[in-house]
Amino acid sequence: MSGYPGQDPNGTTVELVEKQAFTFAQLPDKLALESGATLGPVTIAYETCGTLNKDNSNVILVLHALSGDAHMAGLYKSEKGKPENTKPGWWDTMVGPGKGIDTDRYFVICSNILGSCMGSTGPASIDPETGKEYAANFPMITIKDMVKAQKALMDHLGIKKILSVIGGSVGGMQVLEWCVQYPSMVVSAVPLATTCRHSALAIAFNEVARQSIMADPNWNNGAYYGKKKPDMGLAIARMIGHITYLSDESMRLKFGRKLQNKNSLSFEFGAEFQVESYLQYQGNKFIKRFDANSFLYITKAADYFDLAREYGNGSLVKAFSRCKAKFLMVSYTSDWLYPTYQSKEMVKAMKKNNLDVSFCEIDAKWGHDAFLLPDPRLDNLVTGFLRRAAHESVAI
């Protein structure tokens, strides 16, 4: 169950990790979803780093964003037991020995989300009833359903208390959902650059992204597996996403009006500006690793998420009244997808419930993406907060 320390090609200590999977909700005991539909069997991919301690009190659950996967940190172990020559996990700057989420201290689990295409059950999985991919017959899933599946994984691993649930963006929504749905399991929580409900602006961007996929003739109402995929639609959806992850300032600093590999305008429709070339590159990179239907389902789940509606009849204060966790909330000054006022609204509701909440708005130029970039401030915040949570949970 534990990860193994090793050395990467530069000699830095890294975790050697393995992709693992857990399957549950076997027929006929299918998983009941929020929509009323059922789904089964359900497979959840996950990875772990660090070692579980004797009393199972050092568990940290990391939850990834929209297009992430369970590979949060370290390198995959090859057959010879040495690191494979692959990319380190998506949060390798934060998770590892001596890092913000210190794998010398904590047993860190990252679970892939239900509906994803990164090893967990999603629209690209085979429907046992038809023997074909679910495609558009995959039931609509919600953040609540994703968390329910993660809870099943925790049960399977024998974990009853989680020292901290940590995640940014759509991962942060899952963090909030965990705190409200399973309050007695969560000791502390770190929702980063997230929201308890999408603004009209966020829904609008998601809808344009979904429309671009559905308008691609290859989409074929979702039934494109084994055929030409809606690559163009998915690439454009990703380009829209990347605009929302940046900021006016970061785009100005990164690209400005600079041209790509040329000095003068060529008066044609190719990618001339650097920003155009960047977005096209990101779009083309994305279609190689992500499934268009998964994108549709997960963005819809994010749009549906509304903690106040779900648990408080519209009142966020009432929704948080169920929570027991200590919180560290972090927002970023230039995040226009989930601006600071949305984090502050949650902090307010937590305070009204006498909850223990720390909050910091990090001054950063890089927009919503900032939470994934290396930043000593975030490392220090997380390190200090986790140590306190561990210390005070022992005291109780």
């Binding site: 307010k348 305070k351 915040l381």
Partner: protein
Amino acid sequence: MNPLRYDLKIIASWIAPGSKILGLGCGEGDLLYWLKREKQVIERGIEIKESKVVKCIERGLSVLQGDINEEIEDYPDMAFDYAICSQTLQQVYEPATLIRSMLRVAEMGVVSFPNFGHVKIRLKLMTSGCAPVTKELPYSWHNTPNIRVLSLDDFKGFADQTGFRILKKAAINTNGGQGKRVTVLPNLFAGYGIFLIGKE
């Protein structure tokens, strides 16, 4: 652990062990950290500066970033035993509102500020005719964050007008680490005043 500043030591001596504390404008959290370690208090802090908030949370304190005047409004009535406003009242636009809020969310409040009635200040203004700049109030008129200059006696009058009681007071002179109490004519000779206040 670094020794506590003299004025903070006096405040700390007034706090009952195990109580619930709200630190308003808590800076890097020196007082909250000391109280948590030595008196096992349950602490919450509010600080506006990002770098100081990071420092507090890094030290294991529960602190949130924001404006004290706004943030204090969200806490339920009597959520704390003490609300502490150390060396910040002179920078608050509406001190009466803040003090009322402090005594809404906490049983008692602690307020400290530099004394504008000090003899040095009086003499400086009289002799030079210019806005006084001192060790306790080191800014010029055009760059000072201290928009409410008050004396110890002003605060006593303010208590009567606003409707709160002064439960304890300390008039002090200090260079930071060291200091002493001023008992003779404190409004003339003390650099700072510290007050424990409660509802009428």
